[in-house]
Symmetry: C2
Subunit: 339 residues, 2 copies
């Protein structure tokens, strides 16, 4: 493996000059520059990045902490983040916390050990007090996550508004008994969404029956379970709010198999606007999150912070979501859909 020393020797110049050429510094004569380039070419020289990192105190790596890659919301986030990172010549390291607070801390350590220049936290498992200490070692950005106490940038969506809008829509369709499903974000995301949900009920003078709260619903088979559990009830809800398209699809799919008509027998809302919502029949009403925009903003803020070595200081970017009404909640939409 050729080193800068080899190149220098081969070109009959000093390491300094070679380094200047590599980094495109001024004050190198054209002739020598050419000589260096030839030598590099001939030796197949490539700068060793560990040495550069050590010297420059900068790795060109960014860690993204997510619960799981397979969760479509997060993989969509990752996709855009990676594209944005690559554009600025940064590499993305994937860190799956698997909803484990301990794993999260392990990954946050990448910042301490200088393996990454910054961290993007998309779903905090630890309390902020446990995370705060890491912010002195490099920028930590909350993306999709939110905490009142956090003194770092936060890029997030108005979950409360989203919960409110979707629920309000169900109420407008005449529903009085509405079930609530969410995943196990221990974070403020779920609670804000639930606040919005409750707010809409409250406003309409409706009570919530805790019996119909499902707070561990993540996958489509969780949806299947949920359907089965309410299926026989006489006082069952006529509509279900879910925090995930997969759960919604699971419910719809199972209901159809049991001969139910959606939305007549049961109205269902999803969350995320994933592909599946358009493939189901009826199509599923859902909430569209501006994932791309968030990802881009996140990377922009992060790179800015890395550049300025500014690790603390809050900064809030809130995005709005859009309710997309489809046939799983709305008869009219169903009719329009058939064409």
């Amino acid at each position: 493996m050729a080193t800068i020393e080899d190149v220098a020797r081969s070109a009959g110049l000093s390491r300094t000059t070679v380094s200047r050429v590599i980094n495109d510094h001024p004050y190198v004569s054209i002739a020598k520059k050419k000589k260096v380039k030839e030598a590099m070419e001939e030796l197949g020289y490539v700068p060793n990045s560990a040495a550069r990192s050590l010297r420059n105190q900068r790795t060109g790596m960014i860690a993204v902490l997510i619960p799981r890659v397979m969760n479509p919301f997060f993989s969509q986030l990752i996709e855009t983040l990676e594209l944005a990172a690559a554009e600025s010549f940064y590499q993305l390291i994937i860190c799956q916390t698997q909803y484990s607070a301990k794993k999260e801390l392990t990954y946050l350590n990448l910042l301490k050990t200088k393996q990454v220049d910054g961290v993007i936290l998309t779903s905090a498992e630890n309390d902020w007090s446990a995370i705060e200490g890491f912010t002195e070692y490099g920028p930590v950005i909350l993306c999709n996550e939110f905490d009142e106490r956090a003194n770092v940038p936060m890029i997030y969506m108005d979950q409360q508004e989203a919960g409110y809008k979707a629920t309000r829509h169900l109420i407008e369709q005449g529903h009085r008994k509405i079930a609530y499903c969410c995943g196990r974000f221990r974070s403020n995301v779920a609670s804000a969404r639930e606040e919005g949900f409750m707010m809409a009920l409250h406003e309409a003078g409706l009570a919530f029956d805790e019996q119909y709260a499902f707070r561990e619903a993540i996958t489509s088979s969780d949806g299947t379970e949920i359907f089965r559990s309410i299926r026989g009830d006489s006082g069952r809800p006529t509509a279900i709010f879910t925090g995930s398209d997969e759960v919604a699809a699971g419910i719809v799919s199972e209901a159809l198999r049991h001969g139910w008509s959606i939305p007549r027998d049961l109205a269902v809302t999803g969350f995320d606007n994933q592909v599946i919502t358009e493939l189901m029949n009826p199509r599923i009403t859902t909430v569209e999150q501006p994932v791309r925009e968030m990802a881009l903003k996140t990377m922009e803020v992060l790179l800015e912070r890395i550049r300025n070595r500014q690790y603390t200081g809050t900064e809030r970017h809130q995005f709005s979501m859009k309710l997309i009404v489809r046939e799983s909640t709305h008869m009219q939409a169903e009719l329009a859909g058939i064409q």
Copy 2:
């Protein structure tokens, strides 16, 4: 930021001793070991990984090249790979080639610049001759990818068998005109699959009509398009083989919206056994790939090669796939499904 030097001074010992404690070497007295640990604790010391990488010639990073994260097959692969890597204290770097040969080369350069200890190539965009040169800098593993000329480990599935099995199943259901869809892997994956497809047709004495070959089908909306394009034909196929569950779901979904009955009017097979195949109604017949097993084998082989600094030398691990018959191709299955 505390360094090893600081710890040594604070503990009244040498850097060597501290280093020994960090790396759990023998020959350190219990008393001093304790002293060192206390000093590390007090100073909040964490070893700098750039320095370690430089010194040890090892980064603890692995690059995974995939076309796109959002493709469920690849995100599933990533998920398992990351888990396996984390278990051995390796970090995974995500590299999206976006089907670009140039981007692929950029990412392969991570090996040259020593930013990673190894590379997993899941879908080669370049010809092997362009990739071969990188193998002298570190291990390159083909996972899901295959090339006769490659002198590196290959972990892959028997795509030909899969194509054959699925097609044969369609023929057994009485179909004589079968359409073919695949994505744009420029790799041998697609061609092997197609070989299997053709082999089954041939064996049954059936001809293939090139008019019904769709070789750029990736997403569910591609599936929608495909349905529309065959919809009006009088001599249209009665069955479709697809290389992707999403395409299959798109076809099924659109067909149902047009009042077709699946599989009576059109039989459809998917590929990958993604969640969506069980959510659609009818459920979709598909081919299950042993993604998890492949991912684990890949990581095992890669870590082994890193350990032994053995970069070249072929080694083939072929996995079999399983056809999962569901209602989208099989009436009986449909009846059983209704229960």
